[in-house]
């Protein structure tokens, strides 16, 4: 482990500031606003989880953070510098696997250094170390199609980490995994984070996932996206699923987030329908009564 430690380049966590960002698509008359006046900070060395109803524009926000698209108004800054286009200091793990199907696990992991012409003994050693870290030594020469869902996610984590980004952005990375694998991946991923304390931005629709992983939780509104609430998740680390299930604090946080999300979901459900609006009204009244 000592020898391996010398291989690892030091983690330099970054901080992303989103200031008054809006994003709309379409021409004048058919303009659709997806993100409205959104401001938040992805704090240095923290694991920030954004949780919101599905289809609320979280993925759009991620494209803005990654630099694949530019915001209509407002700025996104990394360590005080406005971002311009995609870069290795902000790497994205996409919803479903984006491993290149025509490359083996090993070639996938080495893609970044190879593309930048930085292939050296050190990067190879680092790749070897990461391969072991994600437990895929026996699968180094397999293609992504031969890996299970959980292995693919781990290979992708390794492929991102070899570039030593300042911020990791994860867009519902564990969606579509079965319940068992998902919980294993939560524990695995949070251990990974606890080891290096890189700045992580994790987007999900799953409230349990959010509470388990987060240092800070951003609860989002429906489209157009805004931050409804910021909740500090002050649960002790390292976290284990077994501890969390019994923790009252975790349950409180979950309830708090859920009530906000629930109101949001109801509001969007009732939009444009008098009957649904009445239903929601009655529901909220009853909920308030206790």
């Amino acid at each position: 482990m000592n020898e391996a430690a010398s291989v690892r380049p030091p983690v330099v966590p970054g901080e992303i500031a989103v200031r008054g960002v809006s994003k709309s698509y379409g021409a004048k008359r058919f303009r659709k606003e997806v993100v409205r006046e959104c401001s938040f900070t992805i704090e240095r060395s923290k694991l920030t989880v954004m949780v919101g109803p599905s289809g609320c524009g979280k993925s759009t926000l991620i494209r803005l953070l990654a630099g694949f698209e530019a915001p209509t108004t407002g700025t996104v800054m990394l360590d005080g510098q406005p971002i311009a286009g995609p870069d290795r200091d902000r790497l994205v793990l996409f919803q479903e696997t984006a491993l290149f199907p025509w490359m083996t696990t090993w070639d996938n992991i080495l893609y970044g250094p190879r593309a930048r012409g930085e292939l050296s003994r050190e990067t190879r050693d680092f790749a070897e170390f990461l391969l072991a870290k994600v437990g895929l030594q026996d699968f180094r020469d397999k293609y992504p199609g031969q890996l299970s869902g959980g292995m693919q996610r781990r290979a992708e984590l390794a492929r991102a980490m070899i570039n030593n980004p300042k911020v990791m952005i994860l867009d519902e990375p564990f969606r579509g995994l079965d319940a068992m694998t998902k919980e294993l991946m939560w524990e695995y991923y949070s251990r990974l984070y606890e080891e290096n304390r890189r700045t992580n931005f994790f987007v999900t629709t799953d409230i349990d996932e959010a509470v388990f992983l987060a240092d800070r939780m951003l609860v989002m509104s429906n489209i157009p996206t805004q931050v409804r609430a910021v909740i500090d998740v002050d649960l002790p680390r390292p976290r284990r699923l077994a501890d969390l299930v019994e923790s009252d604090r975790a349950n409180d946080i979950k309830k708090q987030a859920l009530s906000i999300l629930h109101a949001e979901a109801m509001r969007s459900f009732s939009r444009g329908s008098k009957a649904a609006a009445d239903f929601v009204e009655a529901y909220l009244k009853r909920a308030r009564r206790g």
């Binding site: 984006a98 490359m103 893609y111 199609g145 570039n163």
Partner: protein
Amino acid sequence: MRARLGKMASNRTFWRGLASIAIFLVLWEIGSRSEQWMAADIFAPLRDLVRAMGFRKDYLPWVGAVPAPSAVLASWLEVVDDPSYWQSWYMSLFRVMAGFIAAMLIGIPFGLALAMSRTAYGIGFPAFEVLRPIPPLAWVPASIIFWPTQELAIAFITFLGAFYTIVINVLGGARSIDARYFQAAQSMGASRWDIFRRIVLPGTLPSIVVGAAVGMGITWEVVVAAEMISGGGSQIGGTSGGGLGFFIWNSYIGGSYEQIVVGMISIGIAGYASSELLRWGGRYVTPWLKVR
């Protein structure tokens, strides 16, 4: 254990294939011999029925006129010794390969250019789409006039047969590469050239293989027709150098119906062999597809 199971399965498919061909041959033999068999008195009512349906002959005419497989085999054994028969094989194969390779060499870069550059697409695609619906055989008279030799004219027509299919497949394949691959590569710092070489090319490869396999099939269809229409290319008048299409046409003129069928089956075998070769090559260059 798995290897053995695989072997058994492949054996089973092998035997099934053999049975399929055998049944086909037996039915064919029965059909072509029906002329003699139907002459017997027991079949008189059937003959009347057939006649009542409007057929003028005493047998089932649509299969009875075809030479029996046994006769075809005999005729085949005769021509196997004839070098001009093998010359026909060689000529057709040569033309197919010339047209096909030219179509690959021009079609793949052209299709990639259309997919990668908006300018290339804007300039190239409309003209391509206007020319594409013209069947290659409609080009026969024009290309005989344009090209200095018949040989080039035939090769050009076979080229056209494969070209459109390959371009359309490459274009479609390159465009359907998931945008996330580009985004992932971009954010890891890949240059445009690197994205082309390591994302676009391998991502398009499966479509190139499909396009090549389909194009190869069309090439064989086209070459035979081109040879028939143009009168066999460089050496008009003899079966030597005419290709398999001209071999069939010549047999028809000469009234040797068995040889027509020999020519047809030869083309079937040639087409199958070249497609199989392509499939094998395709599996070799896209190893990640076979593992699913």
